[in-house]
Homo-oligomer: 314 residues x 6
């Protein structure tokens, strides 16, 4: 798998393992069914069509299956499309796994955990420190593999932990410039603000919302968890309520799903740190394949704007 | 106290006990301080001014003090004003109490509790029934005396319980007409939806917001309490999450402070029942003193509208 | 017609009469035309495709035609689709009519009329009673068969009358709980509020907007009609204007097409009763085929929300 | 009355008849009542205070009274204020009337009626012509003296007729440039669009809203009147409905009280003509007393903007 | 080219030169590519499909190519579609040019230039006159051929100049009725308000946005140009800033891209003149092919409204 | 001036020099004028009243005058008020100046200039560097003393330069964490983004808007200046347009006065950096005098929110 999918150009023939990202059935005008596959590796994805398929094929090539495919890269309305010559599902002898084909955070789980542990270690307020450590430990497994969202930003394996690490680094830099900020509170709020996603979302791949996620949402889930943690740890200081407020208000506005708007300085700044990191992630990914002098595609979560890459950037 | 404050007319002299609702200090143009008092009994309130006051007076006539006052009812810009001849604070011998002067729900606490108990008794779903009974018992004392809000609707002693009783009766009538509704869920949601107010608000009189009320709000507080109750009662059914959703979404829209919009039929209807009862309360109070053929004052919580009382209503 | 269309499962073969709801022409990639039919009976509808069709076919199978069809029920992207083996238009000998295949209110016209007549009979205000009776009589024929809307809620034959009956029952229950409400005014406003739809809409089936409906709308049409009725009946009391106000304001907000917002208590409550009945109708229909533990499709008229059916509901 | 009120400068003494525009009672810090009067002639108005007044004074100097006053013009916080030396109500011998002191349209009633009659005369469509003539005749008396609004624009005696004349002239100029416009429809719509104000408003001076104005509004009132007129004149063409639509939609947007948005070309343009004439009237009045190089006061009906008078304008 | 494309009816065969407006590649369900062409002459456009095409065809029939085509006009879902029998690109011997097939302003460039020159000649303020003349001369070439927009209104060759001429005529008519308006300022503002479009847009045909157009926009571009012009002409009066303000604010509201809202009377009126002319253009074009008694298609730039053509208009 | 104004408590007598911030004339109910003064030093301000004043006094104690005052600090409705015993304007012998009494940035002008110079020095892109240096030099004098706004944030002497320095430090920290950001572009955009305020605002003290500020605004002014600078320096690269775009879009949304929304990554981030620094400034100032466990006053520019200072902060 030395050459990534996105490195092939129109006219080239490829033969490689790929992961089926989505599989959609269509019925052609001759009445026969076909499958629209989206195939991916870590470098990106490509569309491919299988004609005259059976019900069996629909089962064989469903999402999250690894396949071996041979085909030609073609141009279709300015986007690449794969014309399949041969395709088969991978078998145990192929020695490939789903995780080889999905995008993952650029830092290892160990590295991220080590950085976060250091931030917790630096905290001076024992109440905040204990609650944070307790909850991180409780949901550690999901925290390290879940994405931060189903789309828009950090929507990859370990995206949640990576988002938290980036925010912590940003928080440290900002708090050094504005010393009136309470670092402990900021760090604690950042580590917990999206942790409820391990219950709101279904898992690291092909992520959807759970029923609990739809009906309560990650914010409410985590506010409850903080309350429970405080009780279990027998902590009664105002830190509990203030930390709950940070999580509760981190979407910033009522119409964005915050039950309360930020009413504490660190809550306001946490909202900004969350935004800056999410936007940098979206912008970097959107501009990744854009050439200088051109505009990106429209980005829904950035009010549907296109972004320009200046010609003097290269 | 046979004749109520609101029954006096311009030109009459009154002598009666009244409660100081608010007391505001002013400085007159001769440089001397004066006090603007608002005095009330259960029938309503009236403004009065004390001239050339001392710092001592400011202490003596502060809010929640009962006073004995003698004065003349005058007309000032179309509103009544009291010209004070004599005033003194009540003393123990007067045998009057604050509660004699504040508006209270038209049903007794016993009567309300008895009705609510009956609704709980009728529930068939044991999980909903047990959680509801547990929390109502836990916060029973506050529930029976708190107002439902600091202003706008049911802003009187026991307003919260009275609002709940009215909503339950309304829910029963509606559920009888639309039998697909789950009565147990509706009753349970109604009884708990505003119960967090006993922590969000300071108390039954001169009500303000607590710090917890400001930072978390009654919705989040009660969602947490339902979670805790379920744990204590060892209840694990989906009823817990669904009931939390009803409380969470009862303001109907994100911009009105619901962290989630209603996604369950009973949640949607609960929001409507809450609205209808609150609006009927506001409208009845606003139109109480309006004569047929005239408009009420503008009602802020009803988008600042004035309401007309038709001439054929009397 | 013992087994309804919605009762067939994937893999079964059906032979039955069905109504063509819509018929859309397509051109396949071989350049030949085909027809996409939606076929319905009272239980629901299903999509079917006819390949290689002639201009003649487009005429034969147009909307509102009853056909006899033989085919196989298949699964296509999670939705049912009918694979047609044989199809022909119904003929007089088949003895089937369009009305056998369209959804209709669950109460008979006689039953609905009888209930409404009783409400009118109970009115004590002669002015309101006479205007209401006059207009209901004038537009009785359309009132009993028109839908309440072209989509969203009560969009079936006799939907308008059924909506009015439900609202009257709801109004009675509410007015019993809040005795300050003027029942006569509420009943009268409910009966007339949507009556203008018999001029705004084209008819009970395949309903569209008339030119008058587009340019004036049912609210303005009915306000004019009330004025005319009062003149013809020589009624001059304030009831005329107040009743016009109830109709004028029943959409509640200017941006929803109310020329005035409600400024009379009964107008405000009428708006709520209209809402609750419309929403219950939408919710019950949306959740009809949803299994416990699943979400409905998104409902456009409910701000595009999905609704969840709890697992403890069955 | 050769020198207008607005021509006096700070330091001058004036003696003249003026009209009491408003009279508000205050209570001074010595406990004695005073009156705040706003006095006006056609050139503008000024505030004045009467100290130590009796209940009798409040009656004597109420709104719409003409008074003879002698006093000094002073500067108070950048605005003029009148220090009263002597004041008395006018008596019959003074030979002055209210109408001498109120602003009136710059054209005489005869002149305006003559221009409008000419526009009606030019119409070629008999249906539009007859309805317009009928309604103008029916409400002629009010039409010639009412203001076009209680505030914001054309809020003076005969403002309604003057607004209509200006709009007709504007419509003629525009229709000459865009010949696809139907002049008859435009003229007819303009003449009738605000005619309902003679029922919505109380009269030409100290104008307030009538109950009918509040509950139905001038738009609904006039749409009804057009329907009645057509019936009385036995006119059945589509012109009736189209003309009703023009009146119905002339506020342009639902949230501005149009029950329908414009759906006919002339309805759209009528809305613009109404706007341009109203704004020119507001702007000319707001800039009347502004010196080049300065900004006007904020104008509420123009989104609270201030307008600048360039230095090269004089 | 005596008979225009829009004059052919269903069932007729045509043979004529047409311009390829757009060309989109599709892939049919048999895996073979096809082209969807939109072909136009000055009377309108029609869709046509070419089946089984080669990569060569995609090059040959790309946008802005003139072709000779023979085919049959067919009805497809209520819209016309062309079934191609023969097609070939035009060659030099055919003696046809792109400009023969594109819509152009109804006035010649000379005629428009002559009218505008006359308006400039009439200006009395030398500063405004010199700046206007200077910039019009500088961008004369583009000004006379560019459209006023890429869509919505005046989106044809010379649309910009035509829009300006219409606005000038409208301004003259309005200023004659409201003599307080500064004609020089209005004329100058109108001539320059959209002139930045010659840099914002790519050219007169197949118009897109330039990078400068996207990043700065025509308003900012022209405000800068006015500043530069004033410097080059050594003009220092307030007219420079005021004229910049007129251009800056001509979209009327911040959310429509005005960096400032109008704060000068002529700026406010310029915004209205721009609107009226744009809307008349949109409405006339939308209603061109609509029959009396029918509605136009929805017009996106008019809040998605449909417009009705009355039956008494013909 | 060892003890600051804000350090006095109720009941203390003070004698010190203070600056008159505002002076407003009132007329007392005895008909005599009085002056409401707001007096300030660097620690804050206090209200004081002068009774029975002459026109002479109004001149003597106008804004920006330094006075020597002797008086008593009193409590008036929870706020401090000064009861004046003696007051006189300062004279040359007093050796005090306005600048001694106004709040100033916590860094010296030299220190700020030195930091900014270092940032410019570090730039590698010569086009950005030269334009930035040129414009900073041109407006250096105003840049170092102007506030960043008339209210809300950095509304003190040298607030503009201080805001820029803080933003530069923040930008450096962020760019170090997100290396895809172009530091040169960010620094350049930050230094110039608000520089137009030296023309938009009147000066460092008692700051108001200039006519140019009202009609064009600081954004448009600076975009023009960048264009001019590029011309004078003969720079033609895309950097000019991109830098103009950063300034043009730095308010982030059209409705906040950005003529374009950010379409370049650094423009988006510049908007965030501006926000974070402004909010930290507002929050620190609002919470300065708030005690732990209490809420600040409502902050208009933060959507009117109150902020809480946790009890564990001290």
């Amino acid at each position: 798998m030395t050459k990534g999918l996105m490195e092939f150009e129109v006219g080239e023939q490829l033969e490689m393992f790929l992961l089926v990202k989505t599989c959609t059935k269509g019925i052609a005008s001759n009445g026969k069914p076909f499958l629209s596959l989206v195939l991916q590796d870590r470098s990106g994805d490509i569309e491919a069509k299988l004609w005259d398929t059976s019900d069996q094929d629909e089962q064989t090539y469903k999402a999250e299956t690894v396949v071996k495919v041979n085909g030609d890269v073609q141009n279709y309305r300015g986007r690449l499309q794969l014309r399949i010559r041969q395709i088969r599902p991978a078998n145990p002898q192929d020695n490939v796994q789903v995780s080889d084909f999905v995008e993952t955070a650029p830092l290892s789980q160990d590295e991220m955990m080590s950085q976060i542990t250091q931030y917790i270690f630096e905290m001076k307020n024992p109440n905040l420190q204990r609650i944070t450590r307790h909850l991180l430990k409780k949901y550690n497994k999901g925290f390290l593999v879940y994405p931060a969202a189903t789309k828009n930003h950090h929507e990859f394996v370990s995206g949640l932990a990576y988002h938290v690490v980036s925010m912590l680094n940003l928080a440290k830099a900002i708090a050094n410039l504005y010393p009136s900020l309470d670092k402990d509170l900021l760090y604690s709020g950042i580590i917990l603000h999206d942790l409820g996603k391990v219950m709101e979302l279904s898992g690291p791949i092909s992520t959807t919302y759970t029923v609990e996620g739809n009906l309560l949402g990650h914010i409410t889930i985590m506010v409850n968890e903080i309350g429970k943690a405080a009780e279990e740890l027998d902590i009664h200081g105002e830190e509990v309520m203030v930390l709950q407020h940070l999580v509760l208000s981190h979407h910033g506005k009522l119409e964005w799903g915050s039950a309360k708007t930020p009413m504490i300085k660190e809550a306001e700044i946490l909202h900004y740190i969350d935004n800056v990191d999410a936007k940098m992630n979206m912008l970097d990914r959107a501009l990744r394949h854009v050439k200088p002098g051109e505009f990106s595609e429209r980005i829904f979560a950035l009010e549907n704007r296109s972004f320009y890459k200046p010609t003097f950037h290269n």
